[in-house]
Symmetry: C2
Subunit: 333 residues, 2 copies
Amino acid sequence: MNSSQFVLASRPIGLPSSQNFRLEKISLGDLKENEVLLKSWYVSVDPYMRGRMNSVKSYAASFEVDEPIKGAIVAKVIESKSKSVLAGDIVVGMLPWATYAIEKVENLRKIDIQKVPPGYYLGVLGMPGITAYFGMMEICKPQKGDTVVISGAAGAVGIVAGQIAKIHGCRVIGIAGSDEKCKLLKEQFGFDETINYKTSKSIRKEIAALCPESVDAYFDNVGGEITEAVVANLDFHARIALCGQISQYNNSKPALGYSILPHLLTRSVMLQGFIVSNYSERFGEAITHLTKWLNDGKLKYTETIIEGFDKLPEAFIGLFSGKNQGKMLIKTE
Amino acid sequence: MNSSQFVLASRPIGLPSSQNFRLEKISLGDLKENEVLLKSWYVSVDPYMRGRMNSVKSYAASFEVDEPIKGAIVAKVIESKSKSVLAGDIVVGMLPWATYAIEKVENLRKIDIQKVPPGYYLGVLGMPGITAYFGMMEICKPQKGDTVVISGAAGAVGIVAGQIAKIHGCRVIGIAGSDEKCKLLKEQFGFDETINYKTSKSIRKEIAALCPESVDAYFDNVGGEITEAVVANLDFHARIALCGQISQYNNSKPALGYSILPHLLTRSVMLQGFIVSNYSERFGEAITHLTKWLNDGKLKYTETIIEGFDKLPEAFIGLFSGKNQGKMLIKTE
């Protein structure tokens, strides 16, 4: 069986380019016991994958040069040498960016696409949604009446995090990078207020004006100047869920910024960096809640789906200029 | 009764100077019911007081220009119109920087100076010691075998925080500003290793060399470049007790520095800003433990005592160039 796969051609310096990826033809071997042949269907591109393209120590192991990129993928089972996963089943797993792949069934999870679109298992019911759930519930700890600010609010994690805060009776301010995204956040996802950071003259002053009683919790996906502006408006005993730093991922060197520590000190702020796998024993709890909120119509969701396996590098690079609304996915056919 | 008091003559810009303080003669009125006349004995100067000299919102109210500076003072009761506090008693309270003062007894606490020197109530058994206790026990959560780094290690809070970590079986690295202080930390206070940040060629590399298994907890009194260097060496799930930022207190504008957030994110670090009053309902617990450790010889302590009430501004300003070893105090006579 022939397959095509994207390998890491070279480690990106700064913003990744198509030069950092190489499409290769490979030949897959024969299936062994408890393995399945998979055809990739929906492929997830996520900001955290940028970190894996560096060689430095992080929460996820580095990708190796000349080896395939791996990420979350929904795939169709074409052939099976397993009794638990059969041809025709739909599965999700951490798989190579390849048109076809062979994988052990123990690394796959069967999914039901009758009630939920397949891409949701890569978003609201996958890593981004579960990340939003634990960051909001365990770190931001939303209380009725709290003011909660979300950066990267129109991304896959941000839209879910903001809606979870709304479900818990908070006033939610979303920061995003276009008027169109801001409109979507208010009209489709029920955010109370939004700030377009690209056109704002002073994010700090806009937050101050929108949050006269200061900010009780901040869900940070972006870092940099946006975070400095939010931190200047935090209330005493505020909580920060440090979920992402997309503004920093392409820096070759750490960026200079104003120290936020004096603010965190004088306001007794708690900040917790986290990755979803810290909560891996409790994923079931998150999925149960997210599914119920989706079914009850309390949680809405959106995807930016790009067609064509060959568009994978382009879709991934597009994350860093905010080309996505909600979850960014590639559909291979 | 005549008294002399230091008022805030003007708000400091940057490092305070003697010009920001003015000594005034005042005349005290008559004692009312439940008031006492006090003669100041030991006067505490503390880094946090710098923040109160600004007009910006912080955890403690601002000092007003032309009004007396207030801080923790041990005083002798000269006259009393109270049945609970009598002439001859020794008390501690938040009092004006004055040679004499009249105060309501409800704002004072009687102390016993038979077993413990009076200055200890301004240090190891006062705000600095209690701060060290809660920052270490509640935020750093020292576990046997942990590597703990303390910045400002030779200050009033740092020497106590480091020893509490030692009592709990940790390996403790202290960062201080002279070879003399480093020697004191190792020989008198049992720190395992020290770094003189003023002569270190790379604090980051020195920490890496001293902590091959990374840093589990960081008690930060100083901020700035020292904190950037420690953060680069934190282990997964490390804890930071954000207690002070003395390197930043004299900045007129926030300082630029390298963003530490990407490190805190990828290592799932928890950082908690705090002030001792967050734990005010549990002060008794801290004092009980600190007293027991002192009595058992497990906790040692040192003071830098400057004689003469008129030296108060000079002693306070000296904190920012690290003129103190342990707690800095003025003895008025």
